[in-house]
Symmetry: C2
Subunit: 209 residues, 2 copies
């Protein structure tokens, strides 16, 4: 019971975080359209007024949710991407990070929901673009770094490889969540391995002719 007395600002931030947490879970579960402002507020332990007081509305809150998630991921990403570390260490940490990110189904569902929204709504697409652009840059940096370390000419620009990689991941994950009987976890791994191994094996073969 040593709960610290919160200042106004801290309290407000706590409210925002709780609302975002509730929205994360609910939207992942029911979808953005099926989730009402009331649902979110209630799940967070507030009333609708709290949402309108803290965000412009449901759409605004959703963007904020994506932004927060993106920032968190960026922070974790940056922590791994440290030039001082040996390449093997970076690779291993990156693999762990990827596994943990990939396991987060709620976030995945929300990003996919966002993609659908972006495909349909030009306004949202513009806001979404800023986030995706950064994310692409990060992954492309990682891809370029590894091809450079390997001393192999990449089969396409790092940006293109990065986007292909992300697309493959997202496609496999959505397939798995929507058709779990067809695409079991082991199949997903195998499918990813086929594509990834082909690329890396080919790169390795070409690096030592």
């Amino acid at each position: 019971m040593t709960r610290k007395r919160l200042t106004r600002e801290e309290s407000r931030d706590q409210t925002r975080q709780r609302l975002l947490d509730a929205a994360l879970a609910l939207i992942a579960q029911k979808g953005l359209a099926a989730t009402s402002v009331e649902d979110i507020a209630e799940a967070a332990g507030y009333s609708r007024g709290a949402v309108y007081s803290n965000f412009g509305g449901k759409g605004d809150l959703f963007i904020e949710l994506l932004r927060r998630d993106h920032q968190q991921a960026t922070a974790e990403f940056d922590a791994v991407f440290d030039d001082a570390l040996p390449i093997a260490e970076i690779r291993e940490r990156m693999r762990e990070l990827y596994v943990s990110l990939y396991a987060d189904t709620a976030c995945f569902m929300n990003w996919t929901e966002a993609r659908m929204l972006a495909a349909r709504d030009a306004d949202f697409r513009d806001k979404f673009a800023a986030l995706i652009s950064e994310k692409c840059g990060q992954v492309a940096g990682y891809v370029g770094y590894f091809y450079q370390r390997l001393g192999v000419e990449p089969p396409a620009s790092p940006e293109v490889i990065a986007m292909g990689f992300m697309s493959l991941m997202e496609g496999v994950k959505l397939f798995m969540l929507s058709s779990p009987l067809e695409m079991r976890a082991q199949h997903a791994e195998a499918a990813l391995a086929v594509f990834m191994d082909s690329i890396t094996e080919l790169a390795t073969l070409k690096s030592t002719p």
Copy 2:
């Protein structure tokens, strides 16, 4: 004006097809949740009564829409997959079919919407599974056929390769529609080529050691 006088059954079928066509376009554009029964009926030139008279409701109509699309794709698929034709001919026709299917954005959006729904709703997932299962079988058959003709051991089961292939396609397409500035058409092609070429090139290399 030689419009044939329709029998009741023909008339009813026409109504159903028009409703499905309208739903196809509207749901692709606005999403399932944001499309009301009234929207669909009105776009098709009917009133809501027509929908409830022909389908169980919006959800039922959506499943029917997917089923119809699946059947059409199956028919086109079967037409190409003819053992009597030389392999090169099949390959070329398959490529054309794939390009035309891939270009159909409205259908793609609806299938992706269906995937999201399936990921969230167990009941829908079961109905969806039947369609996806068949589709996977078709593509897997195609994959197996080609590896067999090539005389190369596939790097994974045809089913797994098929699902990986489908996931990649869908992932790239969704990326392109949601982030058109990042993933332009040429990038999408390049990204697909990287993965596909790696696999086929590797297979070819291994077939002639």
